[in-house]
Symmetry: C2
Subunit: 74 residues, 2 copies
């Protein structure tokens, strides 16, 4: 599994934990819904800027999402 | 200061702390030297993939670089 695909999993898990739809996450983060969907499916990877927007929308720290990614990649 | 510019500072500080040139960091990370220079000057931002390559080359965790970025943005 790629780094990109694994980040998609981390994002999707956190979004679903919070009971948010992709639409809601896209709206809260100011990102395009299609872009959010592509990230979750590992087809795109976020820049640091998008990472911070997604983190803010989910009320988690960007570094926490990256830590979870590191855990999954072990 | 932008998020992008601040990440550039974090990267430059860590690189200089280790006494590496931009060329050496570029070589170790497999990224283009120009790209490394643009990131440090806040003209480009890395994707998650590039973030991990840079982190690996510097032997620090990607999440640590992001934590430092969060600290600086406070």
């Amino acid at each position: 599994v790629s780094l990109q695909g694994t980040f998609g999993e981390v994002l999707k898990e956190e979004r679903q934990k919070q009971g948010l739809s992709q639409e809601a996450l896209a709206f809260k983060s100011g990102l395009d819904r299609t872009f959010v969907s592509l990230i979750e499916r590992g087809k795109r990877q976020p820049s640091i800027d998008s990472l911070f927007k997604l983190s803010k929308a989910l009320s988690v720290k960007a570094s926490q999402l990256i830590e979870r990614l590191e855990e999954k990649l072990k």
